[in-house]
């Protein structure tokens, strides 16, 4: 009987409930999670931080012969891009209990984050699950793939909704980027929509999409005004929150010894006499030994990203390269890392103007973009790290005139994209690579003798492969998507719909 009383009906349900885990959440908590996921988590730290910039030919990495530097894109990760989206529905459900205006802000945020993530993923692989995606809770564990066009239409639609809802929203909690400022969020949404639209520039004749008129419409909405509106993460000195490339005792980064800046990037800066060089680079040790002055352009040299690995290491050993400016390493708060920046918006508008989509003055937007970027460097760079060469106002004004848009449309577009590129070190992750894929600018060098494109060393790859997980668990849907897009071969060199 003793045993029975001991064994009696203890509450089994209570036993099996984790006292340290929460079964409830709130809209702000879920918002924080998602914003974190698409910003600071996506940016990654240390070596991973540099990978997009290796693909984008800003940075070389000598640790080993890196696929990231030599054009092996590998497989895309659906989990990185899609998992966070399952938080949207519960966030909106919790938001329904809040005052309407606040609820609107969360709903808008939900649409934006969906649009942002689906866009990032579709840009990598082509067709992706969209209308059936993120519905595991409703039993859809094998979502069908939507053609890229449908995905883009959906993205544009969700961004329109986000714009309207933010317009009818008010300050919300859980946001460490804009501190819940719905106006800034709305500006981001619209700026991003412009970026989505410019990626459809080969589809201007598509009647369903109406790319040009849509661009015109969105360009009239509130857009980013200066770098304070950047969609960017601002770092602090606490462990885990420091600048992703910094190497401070708080967050050690043992990888800083492997970097070199590329000939593409340094070359453009030097060609334009661009003083941002002194804010982003260190002079080459070998050139300093030859007596070159750290404040002169000729103390800096880049290394061609496509040079064979062994010769790159030789240059590393000999000090014949410019490394990253020390502020990126020594300062835990070096600069905010943007995912979409004000200058990008200006360059987009400039490009649209050059293409004749809008009636604005292309040169003005172009200058605004350059000035915005230079203002950013001027603000976050310091005399300690700029090798004595400042981006003062006189210089900036002279510079924008000197590099003014000129020549035919193609030449102007090249100028715009090169300026966009020059403003993009350690900003916007894969944007530079995507822009190169879209426009061919700035020109990257193809070296078949070092190219690690897994299937064709005579080409730059154009896409990532689909993830193994989809091959294993969503086989049929994936296969039909690959069949209709790439003739059955999930290859790195397939041309997705937006590029056709």
């Amino acid at each position: 009987m003793l045993l029975v009383s001991v064994m009696g009906c203890k509450n089994f349900d209570e036993l099996n409930t984790d006292p340290d885990k929460s079964l409830v959440s709130s809209a702000p908590w879920l918002a924080t999670e998602m914003i974190k996921n698409i910003t600071s988590t996506a940016i990654t730290r240390t070596k991973g931080f540099t990978e997009p910039y290796q693909h984008g030919k800003y940075v070389l990495f000598t640790e080993r012969k890196e696929g990231t530097q030599y054009n092996n894109l590998g497989r895309a990760s659906f989990s990185d891009h899609l998992w966070t989206l399952r938080n949207v529905a519960p966030m909106i459900a919790y938001a329904e209990q809040l005052p309407e205006k606040e609820a609107n802000a969360y709903k808008a945020l939900g649409h934006f984050i969906r649009a942002w993530q689906f866009f990032q993923l579709s840009m990598r692989v082509g067709d992706i699950p969209y209308s059936e995606a993120i519905q595991g809770l409703d039993g859809i564990i094998k979502p069908k793939y939507a053609p890229q066009k449908e995905v883009f239409k959906g993205i544009l639609d969700e961004l329109d909704q986000a714009n309207e809802l933010f317009a009818q929203g008010e300050k919300f909690d859980g946001d460490f980027i804009y501190k819940g400022n719905v106006d800034q969020w709305r500006r981001l949404v619209n700026s991003f929509e412009l970026y989505v639209l410019i990626n459809l520039h080969k589809k201007v004749s598509d009647a369903d999409l109406n790319v040009v008129s849509k661009f015109k419409e969105v360009a009239q909405r509130p857009l980013m005004r200066n770098f304070d509106d950047n969609f960017a993460v601002t770092y602090n000195t606490s462990r885990g929150y420091t600048y992703p490339w910094s190497n401070t005792p708080s967050d050690l980064n043992n990888f800083t010894q492997y970097t070199m800046l590329s000939a593409t990037y340094i070359g453009l800066l030097k060609d334009h006499g661009d003083r941002r060089l002194f804010y982003v680079a260190e002079p080459a040790v070998a050139l300093l030994k030859q007596g070159k002055n750290p404040s002169s352009f000729d103390a800096y040299t880049g290394v061609e990203s496509s040079d064979d690995y062994n010769s790159v290491v030789d240059k590393k050993n000999k000090g014949e390269y410019s490394d990253l400016n020390l502020r990126y390493i020594e300062s835990a708060t070096a600069e905010p890392v943007g995912l979409l920046c004000h200058w990008d918006v200006e360059f987009l508008l400039a490009e649209a103007a050059v293409r004749g989509w809008i009636d604005d003055n292309a040169q003005e937007h172009y200058e605004n973009g350059i000035k915005s970027s230079m203002a950013f460097y001027s603000h976050y760079g310091s005399d300690k790290y700029n090798h004595g060469v400042a981006l003062d106002e006189t210089y900036v004004n002279g510079y924008v005139t000197a590099v003014a848009l000129t020549g035919n449309t193609e030449n102007k577009i090249q100028q715009i994209l090169e300026q966009k590129y020059m403003a993009g070190l350690f900003q916007n992750r894969y944007q530079a690579w995507f822009e190169f894929r879209r426009t061919g600018y700035p020109k990257f060098i193809l070296n078949p003798n070092s190219n690690m494109n897994p299937t064709d060393n005579t080409k730059f790859p154009t896409r990532w492969q689909y993830p193994q997980n989809e091959i294993d668990f969503n086989t049929d849907n994936l296969k039909s998507a690959v069949q209709r897009q790439y003739n059955g071969s999930d290859d790195f060199n397939g041309i997705m719909w937006i590029l056709q």
Partner: protein
């Protein structure tokens, strides 16, 4: 809670049953009549039958036994005396009764019954010889016949194993014998004291084994595989714990021996982790290494789910049953056993090239070991550890032996002293063990104290109490330093720093104490001495276990048993590091991560918990005609909880060198913590009722049926109650056939079992994960989906086996084949990530089977006057195969198919080859590695084996055990990674010299693609291939080529086959004549060795015995001395 109510009802019914049985079962008097009805029954078996029916011990010399023919007997309820007369007299045998023993002897005169008295007057010139007879475990043997050779004079030992006998002749010889023991003849010349240790006949047929719930049964009645290891086999060569000594001793038990200090070895029975049961108690927190070798009387391996069916889901992988030592003889016994072993070299140790320094492309740099050629008269700017500054110094290989120089001689000392007092009504035993493990890296030292008490108290004939308690404390100040990702010593010294500095110069590891280290690197690597003494991960573990068993014989054939086991532990993990470190990939203990910090770190975590396991059982047995019936019913409760709570600094330490949470640097960002807190709780309760019915027919056919019903707190309410049965049978075929003389016993057995396992703790919860981010609360919606109606996972095992004793029990053979089907498995099935979720908890339709074979051969190879050689060989394998595929959820790759093996090893990076098999090279001169996953082979070994030998020669005993695992693939990480870093001895080639010294390029052997291309489908199958090849002529850097190829899966996935000389011992037992007149009961001194010699197929630099390769610590050869004294 309806299921819980049902459980209560069942418990009440059980108790009612218990109570009713007490009154309903009629008393039956001690059977003093004998019923035997068998044809062709051997004489031994007739005697056994009498023993069984009357309770008398029957003593008979083996000479007699083996000379008497089998006979037909037909006795029904004959009085014992009459029966004996009938059986013995035709064989010219007589008997006498001595207490509870019947002594059978050769009859010379005609009168058959003679009662002999010990008080008979001594004859002239007689001497009295006295002594004590014990078994090898020191247990006294009562009823052993002591005969004066060539006479009819004899006696037998009393309940303390003691005897006294008068002999007249000076050269009289005494014969000590009894059924089941090897008779011994000993001369009495010059002796008055003869104590004998009787060896049981090898692999006695009447072997009693401990089965589930601690029930002792005759081995031949079992329908499943069991195997015993005697404690004695573990008590001469004593490592840190008994785990290594168990390797290879049992077919089907595979031990993956760690080489790490304070490491954990994998213990797998038939490929899964067995339940550990100590004296009948399945503790929740005890592990094999918590039990001192000297406390073990015997270990019984219950293989597979059937054997452990009564333990329910916890026993679904079988059980390791440990019986600890009990009373010894009578009176006081003190035993001392000490084994100390020292490192005597290594059986596997990583080596590195010694020709090139650190750097890349032949130049000094801060990383890699592809640096300059050393010892050719060059100099470079280098860190001088003595002046603590950069200086131009010669490039020489002063650090050729850095790793070995860093290692310290390992030492393991394992000591035990025990005191046992045994009396008429039980025993009391107190035992203290002390183990000291001096690791091979500096500052590795572990002290383990194990104190145990146990005893038994008999209160009258009907009631007894047994209790056991053990307390364990083990502590080590520093266990950090293994592994690659953890940046352990091999990573630091061998893998990533070159032979160009002498590590011994770095013992003074500070430039500024607690702030700046004396070291040549400023990234990734730390001074290994700094790691050893300053970057500390220390553990302290305390564990207490206690059990109480009460047996009450309600009637002779009805017994009530209550058994309660409780254990509790409290552990503390501490981690700290000084500022200025570079290797910051931090430790994780029991799932809680610390994290080294360049600004200094301190963290402490406490883990505690307990488990309780209570059983109440009623056992009843009855003979009905030729049937023996055993019924068991019982209920059990198992409950455990585990908790942890800890804290760690986030932003470093304010005062260098002061390690305390109080010294945490505050965070300057709002909302971001300066101290992180960790906490967690896990609880589970399982209530069970179970029953077993055993039927034996003619002691030759056996059938067991069991059933168990569990209620687990982890199951959803609707599916909380689940039932599972087993059926087991065995037939002793030799009882039914004309057995040839070489066959002593042969049985067939078979079993069928269902076992069910509930969900894991909290598996059915879907909580949000809450954390801090950017000073805000962030909450993540669960990544898992949960299906409805989650049933427990099920396995169905069938097993067939046969066992036989041959050649007068000189040879024993046991073969078992099993097939375990895993179905209804609750798994967290991976799903397409585009669903938004990671996995879904379902009962998958994907099933797989584990099939295996186990063969054991054991026996006496040689048995002569002074020499006896016993040998045991075992062989086993188990492999898993897909049976059904879930049409919706299963992975749709080419290896997940019915009939294919589960343990496939598929990876990318196979070198692409042309149709002739030549390696294809890329345009850059490197080998072309496949982008798609391909099959390399299978991970599980083809088979494993063990071979144990024990040779006794006069007072000497030699023990040798060899074991190994053959086949199976493993990632040889240390081997492959050294090609990447440049430290591999294999890279010290003429080609490397040519590149570093002469600047010459390398051309890989094989072909290159000159035209065409290849197209793959999504799975990597070739769609079209137009490639044309020509011999490769593309120059490439040897360094680049070697790094890529050498560290690829292609080069790293190796065959893990190995054979190891596990243990060796040479013991000298002090002859009894030396110690006869002293207080010393026995004494022996032995040379012991463990881990002595290793053969491997592919592994060069580490010991594949570990089971995986992650910069495994060198595998030390241990040699030492054992000293045993008993008083």
């Amino acid at each position: 809670m309806s299921s819980c109510r049902k459980y209560l009802l069942m418990m009440k019914m059980l108790i009612a049953f218990l109570l009713c049985s007490v009154f309903q079962i009629q008393a039956s008097s001690l059977a003093q009549t004998v019923t035997i009805h068998k044809k062709d029954m051997t004489f031994v078996n007739i005697l056994r039958e009498i023993k069984k029916q009357t309770g008398y011990t029957i003593i008979c010399s083996s000479d007699i036994l083996h000379n008497v023919k089998a006979s037909d007997v037909d006795l029904k309820n004959k009085p014992l005396e009459e029966a004996l007369e009938l059986i013995l007299s035709p064989n010219n045998l007589g008997y006498y009764v001595e207490g509870k023993s019947i002594v059978v002897r050769q009859e010379k005169s005609n009168h058959s019954v003679q009662t002999m008295s010990l008080t008979k007057k001594p004859e002239q010139q007689t001497r009295t010889i006295r002594g004590r007879i014990t078994d090898i475990g020191g247990e006294p043997l009562s009823g052993i016949s002591v005969l004066v050779k060539g006479t009819t004079k004899g006696t037998s030992t009393d309940s303390n194993g003691e005897y006294a006998i008068d002999v007249s002749a000076n050269d009289a010889v005494l014969i000590f014998s009894s059924i089941g023991f090897v008779a011994q003849e000993i001369s009495t010349v010059g002796k008055t004291q003869i104590s004998v240790v009787l060896q049981s006949e090898s692999s006695d047929i009447d072997e009693v084994v401990v089965t589930a719930l601690g029930i002792k049964r005759e081995e031949k009645s079992l329908g499943y595989a069991v195997q015993k290891v005697s404690g004695e086999a573990l008590q001469t060569v004593k490592g840190v714990d008994v785990v290594q000594s168990l390797t290879g001793k049992t077919a089907g038990l595979v031990i993956k021996n760690t080489t790490e200090f304070y490491g954990n070895s994998g213990i797998e029975m038939r490929g899964e982790s067995p339940l550990l049961v100590i004296n009948g108690v399945p503790y929740g927190n005890m592990s094999l290494k918590d039990i001192p070798a000297d406390e073990i009387e015997e270990i019984t391996m219950l293989k597979g789910a059937t054997a452990a069916a009564l333990y329910g889901s916890r026993g679904s992988a079988g059980a390791v049953m440990i019986t600890t030592k009990g009373g010894v003889g009578k009176g006081l016994a003190i035993d001392f056993n000490s084994n100390t072993m020292f490192r005597a070299g290594w059986v596997a140790i990583p080596k590195a090239q010694t020709s090139y320094g650190h750097g890349l492309n032949g130049e000094i740099a801060d990383d890699y070991v592809w640096g300059p050629k050393l010892d050719i008269g060059n100099t470079a700017m280098q860190w001088n550890p003595k002046t603590k500054q950069m200086e131009e110094m010669p490039l020489v290989s002063s650090g050729k032996d850095n790793f070995k120089n860093f290692l310290e001689p390992g030492m393991i000392s394992n000591n035990n002293i025990s005191i046992t007092q045994t009396g008429e009504n039980g025993f009391f035993r107190s035992s203290l063990s002390y183990v000291r493990d001096k690791g091979q890296y500096p500052n590795q030292k572990m002290n383990k104290i194990n104190y145990s008490l146990n005893g038994e108290l008999k209160l009258g004939d009907k009631f007894s109490i047994e209790s056991q308690m053990g307390y364990l404390r083990s502590a080590a100040p520093q266990i950090w330093g293994g592994g690659y990702n953890a940046q352990g010593y091999i990573y630091q010294i061998l893998m990533w720093s070159g032979p160009d500095y002498d590590l011994r110069d770095y013992k003074d590891y500070w430039v500024t104490p607690n702030e700046k280290q004396n070291w040549l690197y400023d990234a990734w690597y730390d001074n290994p001495y700094l790691i050893a003494y300053e970057k500390l991960l220390g553990l302290e573990e305390n564990k207490l276990n206690a059990s109480l068993t009460m047996n009450y014989s309600i009637q002779d054939n009805l017994k009530l048993v209550f058994r309660n086991g409780y254990d509790t532990y409290r552990d503390e993990d501490k981690a700290r590091n000084p500022a200025g470190i570079y290797s910051d990939r931090g430790p994780s203990v029991s799932g809680n991560s610390f994290g080294w910090n360049g600004k200094g770190f301190y963290g402490v975590n406490q883990r505690w918990g307990n488990s309780i396991n209570s059983d109440l059982m009623l056992m009843y047995n009855k003979s009905v005609g030729e049937f023996d019936l055993d019924v068991l019913g019982g209920g059990s409760l198992y409950y455990y909880q585990d908790k942890y709570q800890g804290a760690k600094t986030v932003n470093g330490l304010s005062v260098p060198g002061w390690y305390s949470l109080a010294n945490a640097v505050p965070s300057d960002a709002p909302g971001i913590n300066s101290i992180d807190h960790m906490a967690g709780t896990t609880k589970q309760q399982v209530n069970s009722v179970y029953g077993k019915l055993s039927i034996a027919w003619k002691d030759a056919v056996y059938l067991d049926v069991t059933g168990r019903n569990d209620w687990s707190s982890t199951q959803p309410e609707n599916e909380r109650s689940y039932f599972y049965p087993s059926v087991v049978g065995s037939v002793v075929l030799s009882e039914f056939m004309d057995t040839p003389t070489w066959l002593s016993m042969w049985k067939l057995r078979g079993s069928w079992t269902i076992a069910k396992s509930p969900l894991g703790v909290y598996d059915s919860n879907r909580p949000y994960s809450v954390s801090n981010a950017w000073g805000l609360v962030s909450s993540l919606y669960p990544e898992n989906l949960i299906g409805n109606e989650l049933l427990p996972s099920e396995t169905r095992t069938w097993e067939v086996g046969t066992a036989g004793y041959f050649f007068n029990k000189r040879l024993y053979v046991d073969v078992a084949y099993f097939d375990k089907l895993y179905y209804h498995r609750q798994i967290e099935q991976d799903i397409a990530h585009s669903s938004g979720f990671k996995n879904t908890l379902i009962n998958t339709k994907e099933t797989y089977a584990r099939r295996g074979l186990e063969i054991t051969l054991s026996g006496t190879v040689l048995k002569k006057e002074n020499i006896e050689w016993n040998s045991m060989f075992n062989y086993s394998y188990q492999h898993r195969y897909f049976v059904d595929i879930d049409p919706v959820h299963s992975k749709s790759d080419q290896w997940t198919k019915p009939g294919k093996r589960l343990d496939y090893y598929a990876e990318t990076e196979k070198v692409l080859r042309d149709p002739e098999g030549n390696m294809i090279h890329r345009q850059d001169g490197n080998v072309w590695l496949d982008n798609y996953r391909r099959l390399y082979g299978y991970k599980d070994p083809n088979f494993s084996f063990g071979f144990t030998n024990n040779v006794k020669w006069k007072d000497w005993t030699f023990g040798v055990s060899i074991d190994g695992r053959i086949g199976g693939l493993m990632d040889n990480y240390v081997y492959g990674k050294m090609f990447d870093t440049g430290s591999a001895p294999e890279t010290d080639t003429p080609e490397r010299y040519d590149e570093v010294v002469n600047g010459k390029k390398y051309i890989g052997k094989g072909v290159k693609v000159v035209s065409g291309s290849v197209k793959y489908d999504t799975e990597g199958n070739i769609l079209e291939d137009t490639r044309q090849y020509a011999p490769n002529d593309i120059p490439v850097s040897y360094q680049e080529y070697t790094r890529l190829l050498g560290n690829s899966w292609e080069s790293r996935i190796h065959n893990q086959s190995f054979i190891k000389l596990r243990e060796l011992s040479v013991s000298y037992n002090l002859p009894s004549k030396w110690i006869n007149n002293s207080v010393i009961r026995n004494a022996a001194v032995s040379l012991t060795g463990q881990n002595l010699w290793l053969w491997t197929k592919d592994f060069k630099y580490s010991d594949p015995d570990v089971g995986d390769e992650d910069m495994n610590a060198p595998s030390q050869r241990m040699l030492g001395i054992n000293l045993k004294i008993g008083f």
